[in-house]
Symmetry: C2
Subunit: 352 residues, 2 copies
């Protein structure tokens, strides 16, 4: 069996046992709180893990792009939620084809999106569930008021081939209570209009752990929880020892006593820090942070006792693991130093 010493650098390592433990922990939390889990596959982009998540008890998966959903459907995933406004004939045709082979649901936050869906999905015997996306504080997509949510829900309800599927939000991190109040109001407004709202879907790994069975949320879409990263550790979701994804890298230069250069730059670690200081940290090298990136170079500043030598291999915990996954063609599942399996990142680069 190959070991990580046989791998080229930079490479992604996934500690399989840690990922499995992270899956189990989230599923147990969801079960305890009567919450349906619908993991977002953006983090791993692998049928391998999507299947494990469903086997552990998830009701289905979440994809953000039709291309990702197609990969997952091809791999046998049967229940897919696509919380995105799908617009344009080409994408709508692909969505219709998906609807014919998996249990599909989508979202909309405007009449324009609904018109396209209503014109494409016309089979009253096989309606497409459409949830209304709500902006509960994130400031991204979503209707701004409960009144708008009701108006769109009515429009969905009237469309021959669509079914009102509930409410969906991606809450601002740390503002779950605000989202909760928003959604409760909207549910009440829907009820007053005679529309039942059986599914309320929320997302974001950090706030999942705050949800309880008193919540109006019925379904949760965590993504990062499977691998975790520096951002999640900063949010208190776990420790560095829970992080399943690391980037194996080689020290290629050591120009000054406090500066070393890795062969992992922004093309391997990404420039997405999610607001953290630094771009990553080195496991087992005290005080070693990636303080600068160019495309093929990671600048490590040594501010503690840790030492590095040229040619040495190190493992970097990135700030945001989801975007790292999208930069590599394959990942290596490991157990200690053993490489269990090398998997192509099947849903990588599905931009459309």
């Amino acid at each position: 069996m190959p070991t990580i010493h046989d791998l080229d650098t930079p490479s992604i390592l996934i500690d399989a046992a840690r990922a499995e433990a992270n899956i189990a922990r989230a599923q147990a939390h969801a079960n305890k709180n009567g919450l349906k889990l619908r993991p977002h596959i953006k983090t791993h982009k692998l049928p391998y893990w999507a299947k494990k998540q469903v086997a552990a008890g998830a009701v289905g998966i979440t994809c953000q792009k039709i291309g990702e959903a197609e990969v997952m459907a091809d791999a046998g995933l049967a229940d897919i939620f696509l919380p995105y406004n799908i617009l344009g004939r080409a994408k709508l045709e692909r969505l219709l084809a998906l609807h014919r082979r998996v249990t599909l649901s989508v979202t909309a936050d405007s009449l324009e999106t609904l018109e396209g869906l209503a014109a494409t999905f016309t089979d009253a015997g096989h309606r497409l569930p459409v949830l209304v996306e709500c902006d509960t504080g994130m400031g991204r997509c979503g209707v701004q008021t409960a009144g708008e949510a009701v108006a769109l829900a009515r429009r969905i309800d009237k469309a021959g081939g669509l079914a009102f599927g509930g409410l969906m939000t991606y809450p601002a991190v740390g503002r779950a209570a605000e989202a909760e109040a928003w959604l409760a109001d909207a549910r009440q407004a829907l009820a007053a209009s005679g529309l039942a709202c059986e599914r309320i879907s929320s997302g974001g790994t950090p706030d999942m752990w705050r949800s309880s069975d008193a919540s109006v949320v019925t379904e949760y879409r965590p993504g990062t929880y499977i691998y975790l990263d520096r951002y999640q550790v900063a949010k208190g979701v776990g420790t560095l020892d829970d992080c399943a994804l690391t980037v194996l890298s080689t020290v290629v230069s050591h120009p000054t006593p406090t500066r070393a250069i890795l062969d992992a730059g922004s093309k391997a670690l990404s420039s997405d820090t999610l607001g953290l200081a630094d771009f990553g940290e080195l496991l087992g090298v005290s005080g070693a942070r990636v303080t600068g990136l160019s495309e093929e170079h990671g600048t490590v500043t040594l501010s503690g006792d840790g030492k590095l030598r040229i040619g040495e291999r190190v493992r970097v915990v990135p700030d945001h693991c989801c975007v790292v996954t999208n930069l590599f063609n394959e990942v290596n599942l490991i157990d200690g130093d053993k490489v269990l399996e090398t998997l192509p990142v099947a849903a990588r680069g599905r931009t459309g």
Copy 2:
């Protein structure tokens, strides 16, 4: 012939005439200043453009990864410079294989890197030129003093299968004069040691235009000049009308009068701003900037007269075009609205 209206979004559009004009302009500048041009293919990652660059007069190309060089060698590019410390048996073996089929040169900035090269390249009849990388102010790789440069050059000169190839730097942007002085000193120190330094290679698109025939630099490795981007425009290299690469995107949501959401997020535009405010700007939409990104959403703030409507397609000029190229599997060469050709990004994702 297909048009851009037939393309899925997000997609990369390359205005072919602009790219050709950018190639011609840089080559003319290099010719006028007696400078050899050796374009960095990281920006386009396409044999198509590498061949055009060589046809226009470039002496060869620059690649940052062996995987990129292999793609280019396969496509027939014959002279490749790899300004990177290559370490480890697997990469050294691949480097040796490359040396047997193209005119190759590399760099080193440490004895450790040189030991590996010297042990791998042993054919005195077919020496590998090794340039010494110098840190002339960038604070990345490179020897710190002229004395160190001389010591490494001597070591190269003594190795049976290596040849001292000169000096290489990637200067800090805007500090070309400092780099120039550093390199002049080092060249003098080499001469005092009896080592001729016939090749001095520098890089970076913005400062290329400041180089003149009075420079000690003999070769230049610009990358971004072929496409240009918001960063280069900010540096005065060209105008938005010179930018060849744009990201075609669809407005998928318009939750408030001043906020619209694109289907191009960090997976399409990247989070790499190179220090600019905002992540991109929309062509032809006055006051429309991409002010926020998540993976699949780009948040546009409308601060001027420009209006957008849901379903509309827009073209975004990104901050840093090189990293955008690496996020897409293919690019579309266009002439106005016509799609001339769709090319796979052959050297995309070559991390190793």
